[in-house]
Amino acid sequence: MYEGVIQHLIDELGRLPGVGPKGAQRIAFHLLATDPDDVRRLAAALIEMTERVRFCKTCGNVAEAEQCRICLDTRRDPAVLCVVEEPKDIAAVEKIREFRGRYHVLGGAISPIDGIGPDDLRVRELMARLADGAVTELILATDPNLEGEATATYIARLVKPMGIRVTRPASGLPVGGDLEYADEVTLGRAFEGRRLLDV
């Protein structure tokens, strides 16, 4: 335990994902030794984020306006929609630079252990987006683990009566993993070789 202010910072840092007590301590002392201007810039970025970043009202991606840049981009193919669990998964798919459609962020995956059911995800919003018939292919790019698979199956079944082509990138993605950790080449291949999901 350290005195007041520094311990307070360590506690706050320790609450971040992937940062343990030792890591929090290391970051805190690093910041203490850093040029105060650099630290101020970091603090400003954090505050700016809380004030300016919102979630796109259409797809759930992070955005600085009502809609995110991808939803506003008219060159994007409105017929193809890629469903992901988290905004960070969009970044992963964008890196492969081949996908030209738009996205829908669910905000997680079905997991009864964690008390998360379809109603806790942005499934209803997805169905509303699909209602006008503009989307003809739905790519279900939820994580390649049990919960991601279950979520994909659930959505595929809901969508089936609408006659939309439903695919899932599968080949090559390591099972039991997170989409965001797949490298670009693997993810690229997985998108190319996406298979029709039969339910």
């Binding site: 079905i110 997991s111 009864p112 252990i113 964690d114 008390g115 059911g117 379809p118 109603d119 049990l146 919960e147 698979e149 279950a150 199956t153 659930y154 079944r157 099972v175 039991g176 339910v199």
Partner: protein, 390 residues
Amino acid sequence: MHLTRLALTDFRSYTEADVPLKPGVTIFSGPNGEGKTNLVEAVGYAATMASHRAAQDAPLIRKGADQAIIRAAISTGVHDALVEIELNAGRANRVRLNRTPLTRPRDVLGVLRTVLFAPEDLALVKGDPGERRRFLDDLLVAMAPRYAAVRADYDRVVKQRTALLKSAGPKGGPKGNRQSREAVTATLDVWDAHLARAGAELLVAREHLVNSLRPHVERSYTAVAGGDRGPAAIAYRRSFGSPVDNFAATHGERVRAAARALREALLEVRASELDRGVCLAGPHRDELELSVRDLPARGYASHGESWSMALALRLASFDLLRAGREDPVLILDDVFAELDEGRRDRLAALVAAAEQVLVTAAVPDDIPRLLAGVHFKVSAGTLTEVPGAP
């Protein structure tokens, strides 16, 4: 295969231990509580990534330490391997194979193979069905490590599906969330499909394993029980429907058929599942039936017969694991004290020729003379080699 060295740091009662090992028999003797089982437990852990007697890893780390290390050097006819396992309190364990860190610790499975006999084995016969399912699944993974993933997937589906069923009940799910039956039913179909797929793969593998195991169990039982007291038999019983014994079908066809049967079974029991908040069909409720002279071993067999059956299951595992491959390392932890003289001698005769046998006993005289070899005395976490024959 055989171990050439076992080194421990802060594992159980050991601060440091470093034991050179050779093929053949090695005996560890000493009074109770001095650390004999701890030693062979570490060997078992290096092979299976789990303790045979503790469900969690925490008790394996020496009291006061926050990390335990197991190092096992293995020699096979083809190559040598070094398995290093770091057990961390409150953090993920780490595994290195030949000094290279493994991203998935379970990739080390299969490098060292062991068959461990322990006093706890009596529970295979007298205990709950869960003990026998675990016996089958452990053996399955030892035979083909990819089943570690199948088993983990299945366990997770059952957990998720059970949580969902509970959320329809009066107390709600694990997070206290309650859902209407309609809402639960809407997602239950999805979990049924996943349970059926993972469950069918596990189920068909277990059935195949039991078929392979059967002749070995019959033979080992006769050999260890002595003479005419058999026959002993084993059978796999599904918790739903009738077993499919269509041996002409390919493995894939059998799995698909089992998945269909399991899905139908789930639909049939759905109403009671929702009432009770438990998964009522699937390999997690199946049974490995053991019988001696056509009577169920559990509840009918005598103490001696129960021990013969437990030994027969382990001996049969050893036979299966060595078929066409190198001998696994045999570990006999304090079993001779449990057996009468006839069973002791017959067991010794059955295992004496194995490539490597590690034996522990409180009283060295309990070990049949046939199992002579290197002898260490274990006392308060230190090992001293006893010169000459035991």
